[in-house]
């Protein structure tokens, strides 16, 4: 179990292509530098930009259009592409594809080598301070490899899609520069061999998400969304930092391998690992948008749609899941923390799903769906089923990226149609869509694949991963450290049953709201408008192509890890065996050294339940929701009652505003500003010292009469005092 850092020369990967692993992140960094350089040259004329922005901002202020990138949604339609657009289209996705190619090659080498220990590629010394020496070193093992393949693979597809989607934006090179930089930091995050290096990537993706969410920063709402994401993430980062401090104070090391070695003789349930794990989880809730820090993600839909697909479905938000999987041994020592993770994940899954039921903005539905699915992943890694969690991370990257990009295509088509007729409507409101099946058949079929996958219909990818998570929860209700542990006095097995039930509830709602989205978008009559209808059409192939690839992955992704009980479908547990060297030890610790095990009959019942729930959800949505009854957004009445509460997201943002923001502002205003700043610092210290000096000077000036007599008196007095001092002391 204890892994010592392997000598680099002797490692089986040392002589393979893996020694070029440093190129994986460096290539996107290079892309960032080149595109960033190209973005310094401004587009001559502002052209139309993001379709999403068109309707909302059509009547916006165009007074500062001179900046060149805030003119989206404007009426005049001369598409003025950035002069370097062609070159950027080559560099942006190009570096990613190269990186992906290298990742595939390294993956091949790793498969051939059957490595047990991670391959540590040290680049240079970074922080030699006292007892602590941290290198910039990359850790290649089975877990980071899976993440690298997802990031570069899905990332390449999203980059290609962006070429079509963002082509006419005046900020095109800037967009790709940010995107490349994001991928660089994300790769740093998963490749870093120590927590501090991971933290660099962690902060870097935070920065890039801020830049990308606020990409159209000339609209205040977009800039605010970027800030919100950034600030909420800072709260989580505080947890991560505290965790690192605790780690160094107690174990004297911050590298993954070093920590695993140091944990060898720590007892299960000890206080220190529990505290570290809980603080790490706080960091994860920030980045992965879990209760209570999930509020930033739905707002983050203000960015361009491919950004949502990349950051908020496939990569950054899954960093928290990766963090916990990476710290598996630590969490295995802290059942209380694990139960917390699982419970928070399950609550988030249900909570976000309820909100998803009543959203009208197509991207908001997907945003809450992401929050909800991330909850599932946390349930998986929380109960120590790291493979299941990572598996869902992977399938989710497939189908959620497909859903986001698909919605991007839909929004693109809607926008083009509105553009053609100079109409200003919300291109993202599902009440304005309907019947798109006839106009965009490819997108329609592909998005149904993704919907069935996320709903958990058998043989689609999401079914396998979701089922594995739920089965893992069930399997750990008996005979595991979790079942013997307790959370706030409640026995662990009870908590796990609750988590399982919440997971089923979330699955039911997922099936309902996803079907609702499909019904309202693609089925029923079209509500776009008679003049607009002829302009609705499928997006160009540069956008549809990546969708097809993702469609295949969403369909077949489940085959990466078929449960043994369904082994007749093909080789079972491929991902499980692959991840074994990294997560196997931690998984076995949770289950007392034996593989989690369910009887076949139980497992069939669980699978049956999951299928029944998915089918019931879809059937319910079909039976209950009638797209024919919908009216366009303008004519729709406001929601009432519970629906209104759900539409307004349970008023959580308002609650935070009342409970945290307003008191903070009030305290800042009265105590900090009026009291401390104006009163104490400005009043007493700054002006006070001035007044004091002035008074002193006035007193001195009174002596300074210019009359010789006065001076003589003072002189004599002084002389007497000096003489007196000599005489009497």
């Amino acid at each position: 179990m204890i892994q010592t850092p392997p000598p680099e020369m002797g490692h089986p990967l040392a002589d393979t292509v893996a020694r070029f692993a440093w190129l994986l992140p460096v290539l996107p960094l290079l892309g960032f530098a080149l595109n960033g350089f190209l973005s310094l040259k401004h587009a001559a004329h502002a052209g139309p930009a993001d379709p999403t922005a068109a309707s909302e901002h059509a009547h916006g202020d165009h007074g500062h259009a001179a900046h060149g990138h805030d003119d989206h949604g404007h009426d005049d339609h001369h598409a003025a592409r950035h002069p370097a657009a062609k070159l950027v289209s080559l560099i942006g996705p190009g570096v990613l594809l190269l990186s992906f190619g290298l990742a595939v090659a390294i993956f091949g080498a790793m498969r051939a080598a059957h490595i047990e220990d991670p391959y540590i590629l040290t680049l240079f010394q970074w922080m030699p301070t006292g007892d602590l020496s941290i290198d910039v070193a990359f850790q290649l093992d089975q877990l980071s490899m899976v993440m690298v393949l997802i990031i570069t693979g899905i990332g390449s597809l999203i980059h290609l899609f962006s070429v079509g989607y963002m082509q006419d934006d005046p900020g095109y090179p800037r967009y790709f520069a940010y995107l490349n930089l994001f991928v660089f930091f994300m790769l740093l995050l998963v490749l870093g061999s120590s927590y501090p290096l991971m933290f660099v990537g962690w902060e870097g993706v935070g920065l890039c998400s801020y830049l990308l969410i606020g990409f159209w920063f000339s609209e205040k709402a977009n800039a605010d969304a970027g800030k919100k994401a950034f600030i909420v993430n800072r709260i989580g980062d505080f947890g991560m930092l505290v965790a690192m401090f605790l780690m160094f104070a107690n174990f004297g090391t911050l590298s993954f391998t070093g920590l695993e070695g140091a944990l060898g003789d720590v007892e299960v349930g000890a206080l220190v690992p529990t505290a570290i794990a809980l603080f790490l989880f706080l960091g994860a809730t920030g980045k992965s948008a879990q209760i209570p820090l999930y509020v930033w993600l739905p707002d983050a839909m203000a960015g361009p749609t491919p950004v949502s697909a990349l950051i908020h479905a496939a990569t950054m938000v899954t960093a928290g899941v990766y963090l916990i999987a990476r710290s598996g041994l630590l969490f295995a020592l802290a059942p209380t923390a694990q139960l917390t993770v699982a419970l928070v994940g399950a609550l988030t899954a249900v909570f976000a799903a309820t909100i998803g039921l009543k959203q009208w903005d197509i991207k908001k539905v997907l945003a809450y769906s992401t929050v909800s699915q991330l909850g599932y992943m946390f349930v998986g890694v929380g109960v120590g089923a790291y493979t299941a969690g990572v598996f869902h991370l992977m399938t989710h990257a497939f189908f959620k990226a497909l859903l986001f990009l698909g919605s991007g295509s839909v929004i693109y088509a809607m926008h083009q149609a509105y553009h053609a007729t100079h109409k200003h409507e919300d291109a993202q409101d599902m009440r304005n869509m309907g019947g798109l099946k006839a106009h965009m058949p490819v997108t329609f079929y592909l998005m149904w694949i993704a919907t069935l996958a996320i709903a958990g219909i058998p043989f689609f990818s999401g079914f396998f991963s979701k089922d594995e998570i739920l089965a893992s929860v069930f399997a750990r209700t008996h005979g595991s450290t979790l079942a013997e542990g307790a959370l706030l006095g409640v026995p662990g097995s009870v908590v796990l049953y609750v988590v399982y039930a919440l997971g089923l509830a979330a699955a039911l709602m997922t099936a309902i709201y996803m079907t609702r989205m499909m019904l309202y978008t693609f089925h029923g009559p079209n509500r776009t408008g008679d003049a607009e209808r002829p302009h609705l059409k499928e997006a160009p192939w540069i956008m549809t192509g990546p969708l097809v690839v993702l469609g295949v992955l969403s369909l077949a992704g489940g085959w990466f890890n078929i449960p043994p009980i369904l082994g007749f479908l093909g080789a079972d547990g491929v991902l499980h065996h692959w991840l074994e060297p990294v997560t196997g030890a931690a998984e076995l610790m949770v289950t007392h050294g034996e593989a989690a095990h369910l009887s076949h009959s139980t497992e069939y019942v669980l699978i049956g339940t999951a299928i029944a729930i998915a089918v019931a959800g879809i059937a319910f949505a079909f039976a209950k929701l009638k797209p024919e009854a919908l009216k366009p957004a303008k004519e729709s009445p406001a929601e009432q009652g519970l629906a209104k509460t759900l539409y307004n997201k349970w008023y959580v943002d308002e609650g935070y505003d009342k409970a945290i923001v307003q008191p903070t502002v009030a305290v800042s205003r009265t105590v900090l500003w009026k009291g401390i700043d104006v009163g104490l610092i400005d009043g007493l210290l700054v002006n006070g010292s001035a007044v004091f000096t002035k008074a002193l000077a006035w007193a001195g000036a009174q002596l300074h009469t210019g009359r010789v007599g006065t001076y003589a008196w003072i002189f004599v007095l002084g002389a007497v005092m000096v003489l007196g001092a000599f005489t009497f002391f």
Binding site: T705, G706, R707, V708, V716
Partner: protein, 97 residues
Amino acid sequence: MLAESLALSAALFAIGVIGVLTRRNAIILFMCIELMLNAVNLSLVALSKVYGASGEVFVLFVITVAAAEAAVGLAIVISIFRHRQSVNLDDINLLKG
């Protein structure tokens, strides 16, 4: 003799100080300063009887410097008088800050 000389010197010095502190006429002030200088001279001469002749040498220096100073001071006082028709120090506070 020494004690009496020093007592006289102290008395003269005190008279000089009181004069400086109380009188307003610049000329009288000068005279009082001279008085103080001479009181010091007296004690220097008296003490040189006991401690050697260096005190008497100092007296010569003091007289010389005092004479030079008086010449300069008197010139200033005269030019002030020419401007203001007064040598009353209460009227003169040009050095006020």
